[in-house]
Amino acid sequence: MEIEVKPQFMTVTELNRLVREEIENNPYLTNIWVKGEIFNLTYHSSGHIYFTLKDEGAAVSAVFFRNYNKNMKFRLEEGMSVLVLGGLTVFEKRGSYQLNAMSVRPEGAGELQKRIEQLRKKLMDEGIFDPAHKRPLPFLPKRLGVVTSPTGAALHDIIKVALRRFPNIEIVVAPAKVQGDDAPGSIARAIRELGRPQWGVDVIIAGRGGGSFEDLMPFNEEVVVRACYNSTVPIISAVGHQVDHPLCDDASDAFAPTPSAAAELAVPVRTDLEDEIKYLVNRMNMALSSGVEKLAARLAGTASRKVFRDPYEIINMREMLLSDTESRMAMHMQGVITSRKERLLHIPDITMLEKRILMEKRHLFSMQLQAIEKLSPMNIMARGYAVVTGAGKKIIKSVEKIKAGDKVEIRFYDGLASAEITSAAKEK
């Protein structure tokens, strides 16, 4: 007789429960990193993310619940290679298991790098990095704004360099946290504050000294990048870095690899500008002096010929010209001297340069006066020439016009004499 032995069995429910307990209590299956690629990705409206994690030989479904994924700073993409931290759970109803993700990070490129690249792409599409948006920095900034840590070396470097280049520069520092979770908000706030017209700032340097990639992360945060882009005053991004440019570099009007270099970009060297002015004034002086010399020589040449041909007729004209020129010169000089005096009175420390310009101008005018004096017929007459006039003040140009007994007047440079001709004879 066959004895029917009932095999020991368990129900499906019991089986799945057992499996579930085995799996969920197995420390090797609870807090594990699993590497794979993402497929069948669904961002569900509930906020949960569903996907299948695959490699060449296998697949496992995964869920990334909202309360775990809400702080994630990048977006999962189809085909992305990732490391998933999670544990297995079992669906007893279907006899299937899935990976319950608590954290996902991109494999290969670091998570931060990935985030930056995604943000870069997004902002680029928006035109945040458009070169056409960049403004020129002011040539001569009146007030320099600085956004950085109030206690960092970057601030000292910027102040030191700025003062060395332009000793009387004005600097306004908006202190910001440059490290930690609240750094991005703090930096953005400081940039906005300095942009308010009441501070009179016409260029801003925002940055920090060098640090690790993570240290520089605040300058890759969207809120900081946007604050740079939206700055109401031209802004220089000054984040110490060796290799990778932080995103705010590309959104700013200019950028420098260190805070010191940014200060050099923003602040001109005052003595260079002074030298430039001096050089230009010097060129003007040289040009004007040589111009006056040429003109004087030309006038002198022309005049000497005319004077000897026809001295008396041009005396009046010359006299008029002379007195006119003289009075204009005098007025001009008076004007120049008055304005110089005013300037001397109002500018407490007139520079040596200005004093020299004044001296040179005086010299120029005296040269001009001398040149014009040389042209005066009186001057020529003073050298021993005289003009003889007869009846009706007519100039006697020839001995043939007079005879013995004629009364004539002789005009010397300093007076008039009456005379009577005793003899007149033409030279053969």
Partner: protein
């Protein structure tokens, strides 16, 4: 808001310097008569004085912004020129805005 009537904007330093350069070149070209030369020269001297004035306009001053009640206020600080260090920075940490 009361509007303040603005006077014509004064030429900026950069423009004044560029104009000075132009005048120097014009004088050097020898195209101008004596009268014009002197006028231009005078203008150039004025521009040079203006540029100098602009360079002297700023008064060396370092200010730190900090919270003053609900407002932000500027506090002037002394610095060491050689190192750029702020001399009275004991309460810098609390000066974030």
């Amino acid at each position: 808001m009361e509007k303040v009537k603005k006077s014509a904007p004064k030429p900026a330093f950069e423009e004044a310097l560029a104009e000075l350069e132009e005048i120097a070149s014009r004088l050097e070209s020898g195209e101008l008569g004596l009268d014009d030369s002197i006028k231009q020269f005078e203008k150039g001297i004025q521009l040079a004085a203006f540029c100098h004035k602009k360079l002297e306009e700023a008064e060396r001053k370092i200010e730190i912004l900090q919270k003053g009640g609900s407002d932000v206020v500027a506090r002037q600080v002394a610095v060491k020129s050689d190192t750029g260090e702020i001399e009275d920075d004991e309460d810098m940490q609390g000066s974030l805005i």
